[in-house]
């Protein structure tokens, strides 16, 4: 009788998390807790870091294989939810929501700001070239490079196609740096600007008509999708969402896309991407390299955005000049990068409101990173 209980307990212990636990699991659970802490206490991108952090915890609770529990096990509930990440259909749905909540009027009123969004994409290709030097394959390098676009859904979309094995590390890296935008960008912005440049006042933009707002997504999808058809899943949904918002007759659809739908998909994508970071797959030297390269691409993207504004200013007349502090917003972390511009600008001139000016390059960054992803896909996939 005693032996029966003893054996049962040993068997139960073998099935429990304690019996299968490794240092890797503990480290990853700690990382998950750290993410949740960052989200809750520091309020760094809580909508993303809390689901990802919790996903990391549930993805790293050790279990015995074959019970259809884990995210990588066929038939498991988490595996079904993860399907949207593997097949890349969550990111376009998120883009639909982003389109439905984004106001492009800052960009429409001052079109030259869109070029800043293009320049900031250089971070992607700098990281791509560096990844190649470090021994990654071209497909892996492309997936790593997109972290510099500062766009989580785009990073997931591209890595699911080009390097599925690195997707967890890339997604976590992208979202982590997006959350850390207020920490990473200001020192670089200050490094490349002087006191005089930081207080440049930009001309108030003109009023944008309803007709322009409606035509914008239609023309943009035609121009960009014809040029880079591989970007259609992201660009198509982005501009479709924006059309729903701006046309004025599909308010319910726009509300759904920018509210419940994007919330549901954010929950699913955050949780499953977090759960995909199982210690056995995630804790590798490659993941550490990816984090380093991700930081590098963010730094380069920010620097090129700021420097490009300074370059543009060489050709602009006094009164039309752009404040280089909005150059960082060329990355597509919306609206955090724009807010960083605003906060930095306020430090040097309490009456210089850069927020809506920075929204121009910021939304251009969304378009630019989606176009860049499409190009990488067409070259590498």
């Amino acid at each position: 009788m005693f032996d029966f209980f003893k054996e049962g307990l040993i068997q139960f212990f073998g099935y429990s998390g304690f019996g299968n636990c490794t240092w890797g699991h503990i480290i990853m659970i700690c990382v998950g807790l750290f993410f949740i802490t960052l989200g809750v206490v520091k309020e760094f991108e809580p909508m993303l870091l809390v689901p990802i952090g919790f996903g990391m915890i549930i993805g790293n609770i050790p279990f015995t294989d074959g019970l259809q529990i884990g995210v990588y096990e066929n038939g498991a509930v988490l595996n079904y939810l993860y399907f949207g990440v593997i097949k890349g259909f969550y990111p376009p749905l998120i883009f639909l929501g982003i389109g439905a909540m984004t106001d492009f009027s800052a960009l429409i009123s001052n079109p030259k700001l869109i070029l800043v969004g293009a320049a900031a994409q250089f971070g992607i290709f700098a990281a791509y070239a560096t990844s190649l030097l470090l021994g990654f394959t071209p497909m892996e390098a492309g997936a790593i490079g997109i972290i510099g676009g500062a766009d989580g859904p785009t990073a997931i979309f591209l890595s699911s196609k080009l390097a599925p094995s690195l997707m967890g590390a890339i997604a976590v890296s992208a979202y982590s740096y997006m959350a850390l935008v207020p920490v990473i960008q200001p020192p670089i912005m200050r490094l490349f600007t002087n006191e005089k440049e930081r207080v440049i006042r930009m001309r108030p933009p003109r009023a944008v008509t309803h007709r322009e707002k409606v035509l914008f997504p239609l023309f943009c999808i035609l121009l960009t999708a014809f040029l880079v058809p591989s970007g259609i899943p992201l660009l198509g949904m982005l501009f479709f969402g924006n059309l729903l918002k701006e046309c004025g007759v599909t308010k319910r659809l726009a509300n759904t896309a920018s509210g419940p739908l994007i919330d549901i998909v954010t929950i699913l994508i955050g949780l499953t991407v977090g759960a995909s970071t199982q210690a056995t797959n995630f804790l590798t030297p490659k993941s550490i390299l990816i984090f380093v390269l991700g930081a590098f691409s963010f730094v380069v993207a920010t620097a090129t955005g700021v420097l490009f504004v300074k370059f543009l200013n060489l050709f602009l007349k006094e009164g039309n000049k752009i404040n280089p502090l909005i150059g960082n917003a060329g990355v597509s972390a919306v609206p955090d990068a724009a807010r960083v511009s605003y906060v930095e600008g306020m430090k040097y001139d309490k009456t210089n409101y850069l927020l809506m000016h920075a929204m121009g390059p910021n939304v251009a960054g969304v378009i630019g990173s989606a176009v860049a992803a499409g190009i990488l896909l067409s070259f590498l996939y």
């Binding site: 309020e43 079109p111 190009i375």
Partner: protein, 322 residues
């Protein structure tokens, strides 16, 4: 507005003309032919018959439905003229089969067995019984000779060997091929994956970076130009509306002018406007049971602008402890 319309039409024409030329059947080439087929590629009925492979050299889909395949171009000159009839011995590729829409850089095999009733890809002629030593691909209107392949007929009739282009789609280098590759590239030995080619040709990623950044800039510059056009047309429309309004304002009668002057004070202060707005709000929302006689207007201490107001609707910035 007329000039803007011109630009829009011009832009549309440039874009669509690119698309039209891009998707032309002129990009199709004969790539490989086998006549003596004893134990090689078989058709869907299991028969070993002569075949020819066509290659789409374009980087976009090309639909070859309606085009003609033939081993005898007799009547080509007449067919090309206005009202000319298409010769009956030309094999017309049916329009009803979706498989005739060739994806970019793809291959399509036709069986040269003189059995057109066997399916879309079975021609009405057989090179083994024909007197000519060439195959021709002719456009749907019978006017253009898209491609012609002359082959060494005697050699191909006697030995089981295929004849085709050394490099896919590049004419002028036809030769006997070492391997049969129906439906795939003739460049068997040189075939490398995209990744390998990129590693070999662009080991540091500089080429890809330059091309990609150029495309990103091109895409966004196109949007920039479009937005400039938007701005220009909006300005014009606003000017036109202002002119209309000015013209309408020039007509009013003296009576209307007088009533206007009586009704409206010369200029409202901000406080007065706020008080009126609040009174109207209370009135229309039935919230005026007990009206206070004092309105306190809280003036913002900081400089205020519509741009600053946007900040209020955004989520709180993260707190960074220094």
């Amino acid at each position: 507005m007329k000039s803007i319309s011109k630009y829009i039409i011009l832009l549309a024409l440039v874009l669509t003309s690119g698309a039209v030329f891009g998707q032309s059947v002129r990009d199709l080439r004969f790539n490989e032919i086998l006549i003596k087929n004893t134990d090689n590629f078989d058709d869907e009925y299991g028969r070993h018959v002569p075949w020819v492979e066509i290659f789409n050299t374009a980087y976009n889909n090309v639909n070859m439905a309606g085009c003609y395949l033939t081993d005898d171009t007799t009547g080509f000159a007449a067919a090309g003229k206005k009202g000319g009839e298409i010769p009956e011995h030309w094999y017309r590729i049916p329009k009803t089969d979706v498989k005739t829409n060739m994806p970019q850089r793809s291959y399509l095999v036709f069986y040269l067995d003189a059995e057109p009733l066997y399916g879309t890809f079975h021609t009405n002629f057989d090179p083994r019984t024909s007197e000519t030593d060439y195959l021709a691909l002719i456009s749907a209107d019978g006017k253009d000779l898209i491609d012609i392949l002359h082959y060494p007929k005697e050699a191909l009739m006697e030995s089981t060997v295929s004849y085709g282009l050394e490099k896919d789609g590049i004419t002028g280098n036809a030769m006997f091929l070492h391997q049969f590759t129906p439906g795939s590239s003739n460049e068997v030995k040189a075939t490398v994956s995209k990744q390998e080619r990129l590693k070999r040709d662009d080991p540091y990623g500089i080429g890809l970076a330059i091309i990609s950044m150029s495309v990103v800039f091109t895409a966004l510059i196109l949007i920039y130009l479009m937005l400039k056009l938007f701005g220009y047309s909006s300005k014009k429309i606003a000017q036109r509306n202002a002119q209309k309004a000015a013209a309408a304002a020039a007509i009013p009668t003296a009576a209307a002018d007088a009533s206007k002057q009586e009704d409206l004070p010369e200029q409202l202060t901000g406080e007065e406007a706020a008080a009126i707005a609040m009174a109207l709000h209370l009135h229309f929302n039935s919230m005026h049971d007990e009206e206070s006689e004092i309105i306190t207007i809280d003036m913002p201490s900081a400089h205020y602008s519509p741009w600053a107001q946007k900040e209020l609707i955004m989520k709180r910035a993260p707190r960074i402890r220094k």
